[in-house]
């Protein structure tokens, strides 16, 4: 019977982890809803200062306390979800679209296009990622657009490489050649047969990558390369709150930090869950 219980326990751990992926999915959905509906959800005006209410710890009235000029931190967290998700989603979408396109062509055709994209990718990858993002954001000037561009460019090499590798690994397979025999031309094979099959792998990467993009943008904001001060953004809220940490105002760091971690965790869990499912399907097939 010991074998039986071992198997049962095994299944329960597995089930629990599948559950984690499910939670990730729901959390991502909730996050998106909050981001979209934030202006109607906020209990206070996220930009209204109130000196009398400054630096209040979390309470029933202010769930996440108030900041140094008396703004409601919870309202600012909700509003910031918009901006943080927008930056991450836009950046990931841009690198996903461009990277997949270029990587798929390089992977299928090889030749000069492959060599040129390979060299460009090498140059981007010769910098430590965050350092390159800092340099880009500094060069482009502060603001949302430059955060998006910096995050997207830094991310681009991974999509190019992944799409290239996945396409290249499949280009000689039977079903790809069969698509040619069915009358598809080279571009038809790449975008009609290969890319749709590679897409799930890239989607998993994108999901995990959203977590990274959120943290990257927040990191840039934290060192002062992000949005301008009155705007609510999680990374900058942490940076501002850090100044009041030593005096015991922990919620100014923990709340936006927690929001960042929760968002990143949700995307990571979702990505892992999607990845596991993909693996399983691969094994069956």
């Amino acid at each position: 019977m010991s074998v039986r219980t071992a198997i049962d326990r095994r299944r329960s751990w597995a089930a629990r982890f599948d559950l984690a992926a499910l939670i990730g999915g729901f959390a991502v959905a909730a996050l998106v809803v909050v981001a979209v509906a934030a202006p109607w959800l906020v209990p206070y005006d996220p930009y209204a200062s109130n000196a009398a209410q400054a630096l209040q710890p979390p309470s029933l009235a202010h769930w996440a306390g108030t900041d140094q000029i008396g703004r409601d931190v919870f309202s600012r967290l909700l509003i910031a979800a918009r901006l943080d998700l927008l930056i991450a989603a836009a950046a990931v979408f841009a690198s996903f679209a461009i990277g997949t396109f270029a990587g798929a062509l390089a992977g299928y055709f090889g030749g000069w296009f492959d060599r040129v994209t390979g060299r460009l990718v090498d140059v981007l990858l010769a910098f430590p990622l965050f350092v390159l993002a800092m340099a880009l954001a500094a060069a482009l000037g502060t603001g949302v657009a430059s955060l998006i561009v910096a995050t997207a460019v830094v991310n681009l090499p991974f999509y190019v490489r992944l799409a290239r590798a996945e396409v290249n690994a499949r280009r000689g397979l039977g079903w790809v050649e069969a698509a040619r025999l069915c009358g598809r031309g080279p571009l038809g094979v790449v975008f009609g047969a290969l890319v749709p099959n590679v897409l799930p792998v890239l989607m998993v990467q994108a999901s995990t990558n959203l977590a990274w993009a959120i943290l990257n943008a927040a990191g840039l904001s934290f060192v002062g390369l992000g949005v301008h001060p009155p705007t609510a953004e999680w990374g900058m809220m942490v940076a501002e709150g850090a100044r009041y940490l030593a005096s015991g105002h922990w919620w100014l760091v923990v709340c936006p930090g927690g929001a960042l971690a929760a968002a990143a965790l949700a995307f990571t869990l979702l990505g892992d869950g999607l990845g596991d499912r993909l693996d399983l399907r691969g094994r069956d097939g």
């Binding site: 482009l140 943290l215 934290f222 760091v253």
Partner: protein, 343 residues
Amino acid sequence: MRVVSLLLARVAKRLLAALPAIAGVLVLTFVLLRVLPGDPASLYATSPSAGEAEIAAIQADLGLDRPLPEQFWIYLRDLARGDLGTSLMTGRPVVADLARRLPASLELIAAAFALALLVSLPLGIAAALRPHSLVDLGARVLATVGIAVPTFVTGLVLIEIFYVLFGWAPDPTGRLDIFLIPPEQVTGFLGLDALIAGDHAAFSSALAKLVLPTVTLAVFVMAPMVRITRTAMRAAMASDFVRTAEAMGLSRFRVVLVYGLGNALLPVLTLCGTVISTLLGASVLVEKVFAWPGIGSYSVDALMAGDFAAVQGFVLMMAGLFVLMNLAIDLCYRAVDPRVSLA
């Protein structure tokens, strides 16, 4: 002797192969910091009274009034001489500033890398050998949560807990207690220098100050390392050659360590490139949080001050460091895997 000459040939070959990327780095850095919007000269002239004449004077001073190709040529020429310009913040040559601050950064990064390896390798191996056990679950939780918490938040929360709440950790600023006199610089690594000088107070202070930043930085890279170790080890243990080793009746120890781990280390080694990239990048954030006097916090200050020579020096130095570390990883890989020949 033959191995040494092969190794040197390999180093030369790899450096040669990295040349296009290095050239790209030089061009990209130049373009980013001189051509794009934020005009360095107007950043320099931060006082509101700065007139056009003043800006023009600064431009001339920095050589910004000359045509771009000429500027690029001057940039390369200065670079070849090891001249990265003068920092606006400190008034000293950027090279001197970076050289003085580099050991602090390297100390932090090396300590974090060592800690991450020490934790994630055994954890990943244990998780792979006992799938679905509690160790495995723990490893997966660490691997998932570890990458979700941003470094600067980890650092601040650790400070809140260990310094503000319990008072166990020393004041989280800098490398050494401000009342202590730093030991004479020999290696640049403060702990080592203190030991050489026989200064025990400085040694224990340096060590204590190093703990929180190291943990902060290490936690962030542990996640991917645990993940890849676990996956690679599981793949290796499920491989045909491990089955052969089992079928030959080799001891469990030999099967796991020589046949399993030996092969599982290859993907881990490959990942080290990404890990080092992450460490170098995240060290900037950690240095800012802990006011660590390395090149990362220097670069943040430089960014705020619009000190473009300093920022440029920092970016180039980071890229250079990364290229060198990748070279080291490549050499390690070739030493371990016979399928990739040394020549």
